[in-house]
Symmetry: C2
Subunit: 398 residues, 2 copies
């Protein structure tokens, strides 16, 4: 037994997921103390074990979202393997899968079947389009749901082509909603004794995060378009070129406008009636922005950041990954963690953003598992003998 170190310590998750959305959910649960056991196909394992970039033949992609989990192999098409799987489910609190809807039913391991084995099991399904509706069985990729769900239509340069959000928000948002569903179901089980079936779709999750774009369309009847970095109704609130790179300046109200004009040593702009209020600045942006562009490009990003910090005008550099990973705030918050691994040495990863006084925030995380690393241990725990395990291995069951 592991020492209690987080809210989900003692919770056992059987993880049938692959690639991104599902594994991200179980990473979040593991970061909060849950014991996550990945069930993988013998021989190949999670598809993302084969995605680059590689470090000594280990997928960095796989590693960074599967830290702290255990792995066993099971060929779920085999009857004996299914028997083993059901024994595992008996010991579990949560089962999660991100197959295309219909797959676990075909395998005979859907919610209805698992309930027979463990009545209060929490079964979470995270899929592209969900377990109902006309698109339910369509194939989904992150980019497909980004395009279909609307976020792409409002992301990109002004008057330019739509672009994909540079990270897989289609997968990750669904992963976070699935983690909320599972967490709330665990609470509910403590209260009522009942399990749950959870069905989260990537497409649904995309709509859920569009916030004011939805209401702007409903009120105006005009679909919002990409605006680059510009804010639709606050000015100046966007990126500017500096002498050496870019800077974001966010003059959120009229008081900040006054501070900003003084900071850029152009107090006379305060007096211009056409720039006096935010509404006027937004209305006259085509006149104002070129004036500011000429001023901002005269100094470097660091020079401007120092100036704006002094007067508390919100500003920020457009950090690339190099700058992000050396950012003093993120370092102070323990957001860049390291795992020690025999195969690849020290691996740097993003940490857990949920900071809690009931969670021991280990600076060094457990490494990601080798395929089937815990098969023997888990099967011995279930009561199988070394000889059984040998037979299973010979017959391709594990």
């Amino acid at each position: 037994m592991e020492k209690r170190h987080g809210p989900f310590t003692g919770i056992k998750v059987i993880d049938l997921t692959r690639v991104l959305a599902g594994p991200y959910t179980t990473m979040v649960l593991a970061d909060l103390g849950a014991e996550v056991l990945k069930v993988e196909t013998p021989g190949t394992g999670d598809d993302s074990r084969h995605f680059g970039p590689f470090i000594n033949d280990v997928s960095g992609y796989f590693y960074s979202i599967n830290r702290g989990k255990e792995s066993i192999t099971l060929n779920l098409k085999d009857t004996k393997a299914k028997e083993i799987f059901f024994k595992l489910v008996e010991t579990a609190d949560v089962v999660i899968e991100n197959y295309r809807p219909g797959t676990t039913k075909k395998l005979g391991i859907d919610y209805e079947e698992l309930k027979k084995v463990k009545a209060d099991i929490i079964y979470a399904a995270c899929s592209g389009f969900g377990h109902s509706g006309p698109y339910s069985r369509y194939p989904a990729y992150d980019m497909i749901v980004q395009a279909m769900g609307g976020i792409m239509s409002i992301t990109g340069p002004e008057d330019g082509e739509p672009v994909r959000v540079g990270t897989s928000v289609g997968d990750i948002t669904a992963a976070l909603f699935t983690a909320i569903g599972i967490s709330s179901a665990l609470f509910n089980r403590e209260k009522t004794g009942h399990g749950a079936f959870i069905d989260v779709a990537m497409l649904d999750s995309q709509l859920a995060i569009l916030e004011n774009a939805v209401v702007r369309y409903i009120v105006s009847g005009i679909p919002p378009k990409p605006l680059g970095t510009r804010h639709p109704s606050i000015t100046p609130f966007q990126a500017f070129h500096t002498k050496d790179s870019n800077i974001i300046i966010a003059v959120g109200n009229d008081k900040l406008w006054v501070d900003f004009c003084r900071a850029i040593e152009r107090p006379e702009l305060i007096e211009f009636p056409e720039f006096e209020t935010n509404d006027k600045r937004t209305e006259n942006a085509r006149k104002l922005i070129p004036i500011l562009e000429d001023i901002i490009k005269e100094r470097t990003t660091d020079q401007w950041l120092e100036i704006f910090e002094r007067v508390q005008v919100p500003a920020a550099p457009v950090n690339d990954m190099e700058k992000v990973l050396s950012n003093p705030q993120l370092l102070a918050r323990n957001m860049i963690v390291e795992a020690e691994d025999k195969r690849i040495g020290v691996m740097k990863m993003a940490g857990n953003p949920i900071k809690m006084n009931i969670l021991a925030d280990h600076a060094v995380k457990k490494p990601a598992p080798v395929l089937g690393e815990h098969t023997e241990k888990v099967l011995l725990d279930l009561g199988y003998s070394k000889k059984d395990i040998e037979t299973f291995r010979k017959n391709g069951i594990i």
Copy 2:
């Protein structure tokens, strides 16, 4: 007492939050059955009540993320108001705030103070930079953390300027991590009897969602750049112009490439050795993409979608808000919900993407509250008289 309709029915949340991140968290909790009581400043209320677009003077922005909550007004700088607030906390399970760190301490209502009133309170703070570290008290906007956290540096057209993600992922991602933290703390409280202090930062949350961009940088030492809609290592996997708009085509593997070539009636491309494998197609993208561009622009998006659906090649339109809100899958999933409101009639909003068999998914949600709508009811419940309430109102306490 409300009939149990979700996992968090019976849970009482005191909500001190404003604008987006905090209110989004409490919307998620309310959608799962929690009773959320917004505590707002007398006279002005949540800042976002004053954000457009407006429908009959009601902020659509405020409305769409505050549905199903109740509202009381309390001037928390007043001693009497604080006494009332503490009485509320005694009856609550969760208190959430998204002030700048330090503010609740100054008001005398930080975690240390609230614990004295209710030992097992769950206190969640959601802020721009978190309650520790050198930037802790800096002002934050969504765009600031998008820029500082790295997502902007990988979003935008290839070889072009970085752009902001069109929705406030800085706020919303932090909101989702906060909801996970609160949910896990509620489970933990059932198990252990202990409350919790939760501290989620928007900047931390940005780093946590960057996934493979982090590891690509760590392995290569080269900061990833924006790629438009293109995939860094899969080809063709991007947007194309059609006769009338855009289409996303996602040829994820070599089998799909064969199906795709047949679907576009160019089977001879299958035989080209330089396009035979995904690696070769990615290597020779500059030759392949122009060929495909010429083909795809010959038909409309709908024509192509029909063709690709038949052969199961993943493809999608780049939907704008109009198309999103009439999408048959989202409609079938009950993802577009309506609230009836006396002031503004029927209001359409994005629904709850967490579908659960233990959650009654009401098609019609409760409306968002008028400022202070529930002040009298709540104060009467706490034992104050109508006369007390009148006095409080006269003295600007409520």
